[in-house]
């Protein structure tokens, strides 16, 4: 569905590759995780997959980038809006502010797409239910918590019924409660709807649970790809600054220890 072939990208007035010869084929319906240290190119790849590179950020590109076999350069953001949805890190910035209640805020994207009113109402209710924010419908989107705002942002995109949902570290600015709520919403999405989901995320435990496939980036290059099991458990992840899940971490510590724990206290200590 989205295909990159030796795709490279430079932000304006920079010498350093933001993306360096990336070849990647994302089939319809896949749940893809992107991991990498800060500055590895995760956000830039998210922007490329959703058309913001090259349509929002100027700069230079090489190689191929296509959506549904159409070169991305031939599409524009107006046309892509109902097709690919992008969710960002900062919830505050994603609330358009052009509407006064949560329901109206979700409607904003549908109004722009020209969705008829009756259908709009159904889609809004469905999206709110999916991320569990029905009780916020009449509240101001500025009067709710960060985690709730992020779910409003996700619902606003989901209501547009995109075929691809791209999430760029959607929980990085949220507290543990907010993070859990957002991932609960995503897991519901995976089980109820067949859309392509691409998520860049540091919280590897969650990726391991959801993703069909994980890719690892470093310095704008694709360094590893495969099943979450294969990629996230590899030694390479430590070198790339990705780290590993807390479970792998505990297990690794256990493997390193000379003696196996025998009491509950020891086990707790060893696994922590």
């Amino acid at each position: 569905m989205i295909r990159l072939k030796k795709f490279s990208y430079w932000y304006p007035a920079t010498e350093q590759h933001a993306l360096d010869r990336i070849t990647l084929d994302i089939p319809e319906g896949q749940f893809l995780g992107i991991v990498g240290a800060n500055g590895a190119g995760k956000s830039t790849l998210c922007y490329a997959l959703s058309g913001f590179v090259p349509h929002f950020y100027n700069g230079e590109l090489e190689g191929e980038l296509s959506f549904d076999n159409t070169p991305m350069a031939e599409l524009d953001l107006g046309k892509l809006a109902g097709q690919v949805g992008l969710v960002f890190q900062n919830p505050f910035n994603q609330i358009s502010g052009a509407r006064f209640t949560v329901r109206e805020e979700i409607a904003f994207g549908l109004e722009n797409l020209g969705v008829p009113r009756a259908e709009m109402r159904d889609r809004i209710e469905e999206a709110m239910e999916l991320v569990n924010i029905q009780e916020l419908a009449e509240r101001s989107p500025f009067s709710v918590s960060g985690g709730q705002q992020q779910r409003i942002a996700i619902a606003s995109i989901l209501a547009m019924q995109p075929r691809v949902l791209v999430l760029d570290e959607p929980t990085s600015q949220l507290d543990p409660d907010g993070t859990r709520d957002v991932f609960a919403a995503l897991s519901k999405l995976v089980s109820t709807r067949k859309i392509t989901v691409i998520i860049a995320e540091h919280k590897l435990e969650w990726l391991a649970t959801f993703c069909d496939r994980v890719i690892a980036l470093a310095n704008g290059r694709l360094r590893a790809e495969g099943s979450p099991q294969d990629v996230l458990s590899s030694e390479q992840m430590l070198r790339l600054g990705v780290g590993r899940t807390q479970y792998s971490e505990a297990a690794a510590r256990l493997l390193r220890s000379k003696q196996l724990p025998v009491t509950l206290e020891q086990a707790k200590k060893a696994l922590q």
Binding site: A13, P54, H55, F56, N58, G59, E60
Partner: protein, 223 residues
């Protein structure tokens, strides 16, 4: 027309909204401080400087519309035209490089302040009966007592407060522009690069005129 369109991309429209919000937020907060300054046009001058005269004018005009629409300061709309001119001036000063040095920025602020005072006075005189309904009316009274007529008293009052306010505003914007990464400034495209920023970092790295790049620029303009 082309330069007009270029100043109203989605990116600059968003910046204009943020600029207006800054005007209102700082304007109300500074009001509570009881300073002899308004500082309610930092957003206007910043947007003008970054994006250009049209965007600056729109920020100024719409700020006053929003002051009216919120009901916090309903009379503001009477001065919307003056606010637009302040924004346009900021755009012109920004484009011509005056906001790259503190001295020129201060001078630009003074000039803008005088223009603002001269344009505001007739509005206060003929629409509001020679007052603005604020503490500065004491100055108007003093000038009237000294023998100036209604219009000149308002000009004099304006010249007392506006140039200082705009000087401070422009110097603040100068310092903000100094702190803003070159990449951010380049994105909006009004300010000329300073000599330091102009350093040819990899400018010749790859041949210009690649087809991909051209498409990008075209789309960007349409946005």
């Amino acid at each position: 027309m082309n330069s007009f369109r270029k100043e109203f991309t989605t990116l600059s429209i968003t910046l204009i909204a943020v600029g207006i919000a800054l005007n209102l937020a700082l304007g109300t907060v500074v009001l509570r401080l009881g300073l002899p300054l308004y500082l309610d046009s930092i957003g206007t001058v910043l947007v003008g400087a970054l994006v250009g005269p049209w965007a600056g004018a729109a920020t100024g005009f719409l700020s006053n519309l929003v002051w009216t629409l919120t009901g916090l300061y309903p009379q503001a709309f009477a001065w919307a035209g003056v606010a637009a001119i302040i924004g346009a001036l900021a755009g012109a000063f920004g484009r011509s490089g005056w906001l790259n040095s503190i001295g020129k920025a201060a001078l630009a602020g003074l000039i803008t302040g005088v223009v603002s005072a001269v344009l505001s006075a007739p509005i206060a005189t003929y629409v509001f009966g020679g007052v603005v309904g604020a503490g500065t009316d004491a100055l108007v009274a003093a000038f009237r007592a000294a023998g100036l007529d209604a219009l000149m008293s308002n000009v004099a009052q304006g010249t007392f407060s506006d140039p200082l306010d705009k000087l401070v505003t422009f110097v603040v914007v100068w310092s903000l522009l100094l702190a803003l990464p070159a990449r951010e400034k380049a994105r909006f495209g009004n300010l000329p690069a300073t000599s330091k920023e102009r350093a040819p970092r990899g400018a010749t790295r790859r041949p210009a005129g690649k087809t991909t790049q051209k498409t990008t620029k075209k789309t960007a303009r349409r946005r």
